[in-house]
Subunit: 449 residues, 2 copies
Amino acid sequence: MSRLIVVGGDAAGMSGASQARRLDPDLDITAYERTNWVSYAACGVPYYVGEDVKELRQLQARTPDQFARMDIDVRLRHEVTAIDITAKTVTVHDLDTDTMSQEPYDLLLYTTGARPLFPPIEGLDLDGVFQVRTLDDATAIRAALGDTPRHAVVVGGGYIGLEVAEAFRNLDVPVSVLEMADTVLPRTMDPEMGELVAAQVRELGIDVQTGARVDRVVGVDGHVTGVEAAGITYPADIVVLGLGSAPNSTLAEAAGITLGRTGAVAVTDHQLTSAEGVYAAGDCAEAFHRISGAAVNFHLATVANKQGRVAGTNLGGGDASFPGVLGTAITKVGDIEISRTGLILSEATAAGFDAVATGLRSSTGSHYWPKSTQMRIRTVVDRATSKLLGAQVVGGPGSGKRIDTFAVALWMGLTGADLEYVDLSYAPPFSGVWEPVNIAGRKAASVLH
Amino acid sequence: MSRLIVVGGDAAGMSGASQARRLDPDLDITAYERTNWVSYAACGVPYYVGEDVKELRQLQARTPDQFARMDIDVRLRHEVTAIDITAKTVTVHDLDTDTMSQEPYDLLLYTTGARPLFPPIEGLDLDGVFQVRTLDDATAIRAALGDTPRHAVVVGGGYIGLEVAEAFRNLDVPVSVLEMADTVLPRTMDPEMGELVAAQVRELGIDVQTGARVDRVVGVDGHVTGVEAAGITYPADIVVLGLGSAPNSTLAEAAGITLGRTGAVAVTDHQLTSAEGVYAAGDCAEAFHRISGAAVNFHLATVANKQGRVAGTNLGGGDASFPGVLGTAITKVGDIEISRTGLILSEATAAGFDAVATGLRSSTGSHYWPKSTQMRIRTVVDRATSKLLGAQVVGGPGSGKRIDTFAVALWMGLTGADLEYVDLSYAPPFSGVWEPVNIAGRKAASVLH
């Protein structure tokens, strides 16, 4: 009987373990997870903080007991500290008993996820400074909120930063978002769209500061009292860091498993690493970007689940390929929906495309529909072919999921002219008779030179 | 200078005229329209009836004056009564002066739209019985509503019937929908989905009767008092007919222009008819169905506008092809969103596919997102290839526009396995981590035999 060891029990790992089990009932499967939680929805943490989600357990997709019923042995608070790819063993540290053991494997799924980035800023160790990644972080923040904070600061204006800022706003805690770049969402949206987001988020009563590099976090008696950024001190009795993350590839690197240019584990389209029998998936692994053709490393639950499932199929004796990513993502702040797919303009240019951005203002319904809200669409287009390379949407309710229509278009390599005439749906509450995505296609077609 | 005559001044005609003008500033363009209105949004009429739209003029996309500024001569209340494709003339009846004239053309755009179907039911001529197609209908219904009706009956449970029923509900007028088929939306949704729609619409307080073929409409003193259907009399002081429509191809047929199997005007992918210099577009013209490969005749504003634009490009000296249709459509009743694309199961079987339907229940957000609403997705799949042939969605706010994601997938011939892994967006307020469209792909892939 073959033995599969899963290193890391979140989305990619448990998705892979489950899929391997479905295909191979005889596989011996053990998953080691160093925290108290498996298979949890990290994306839900801001909504637990904001009390949209009442109970922490709601964020757990499946419990260890449920995995046990699938004959998957989940070991919480067990940290894998080394992998020997020649002997095919892992070293496991039981954090509760503080004992070490060697465990043999035939197959290994490396799904260690990502670790938060900590810039060298003084004061990050003060009480009241939090990450927002794990369910333990969630618990800690909710406990701190019990002390009814008067001012919150969120460091970082990416998706998570904006979502946490919305959470504070929903709790009536005044909040400032400090983003060191010139616009929010600097890595995922073009600056023009980032500025639009910042302006709309400010209208919700959230203070958004761009060009605000944090110099230090200050405190009194070990507890945070403020954040200094670009010469200004923002008072804060709670600070949440949303500073991005890096792939957790240290253990793989130490084992001699090949990392890619991104620092994440290099994998084939079957999620196989350079080591025999060792697969990797999720935040710690690279993925093929279908537009740029490059290996990338996104930390998105969607990618983790899909890669985990592909790895699990192959681990279970099946044959599956992961077809790549576009970096499609969505979020909301209040009623503002924000979504994107593919390359932003600077990425497209860096990837060698003669790229140009084009955009349109439209609305989420017919011009005469009273509940229509504004929507801005921006596309990044290859001038040589008019193929769409990326799309970004910012608008009111109903706008954001239009990104999925663009995602399929990008996935299949549609040109602007193709997209203009795709038969998309229309009724006055949902769009103009020319669906804005069709019009975006027309605009994209017009850049052909 | 070439002379273009447009026969019928609604979506297809005016879209074509505008596009021809953009390409050819020298073209002499005259559009004849027999009603009082050009370029109006018929799809908005139910929302004017329901007072979501306050002013009738809001439904007019462009006025004759606006077309005049584009050097397009719009003649309202001018009916073209004959076309001579040999002499290249049309006979025009000026309805106000009751004079006839012959007008020469070099190019002709035939965009006469559709006419409502009237079954041979007694009593349709009673006062208080209305169509819901034109802005004049809209005015008449709103006038009748000024008399505060106590009971309304809508005959026909298609899109328009349901939309008008919603309008009455919004006005607190008790309403019954009488549909002769066993389910509502019988031509556009599979019966299982039609039943789901009917059940949800009933929960809104709208009486929906299926298997209710209307025997006659009854009245007193020339005014409607009720509708008899399947042995039951439904009291009504206002009745609206939503009984479908047929292509307005009589004039073309009389001119010797070839009609297709559907009874609509046969056209090439350039929208050219069998007659030299004569193009057709919109409800009166056929379209190529990309899934069945058959010529079809849909009465959808989206198709009319797109075909009109293609015709206009060719009329203006350009070169455009219409790439076909999927029959994508969407509507809502209250908060229920209803959408569809491609073939329903019976159509797929009739088209020769070894087709099967598969479905899933999902929700519009993560399971832990408090505002998530239910969503049912059904796909029609080719068992030989697992290619998607059709999709239908019924669900709460945010569900309906997912049909556009399916539409691009159908447009490009994606299999279920393809669709399972397309990189679609996720955040807790918008979907589960596996977007329901991805899961629909997985389900579709599973039917492969």
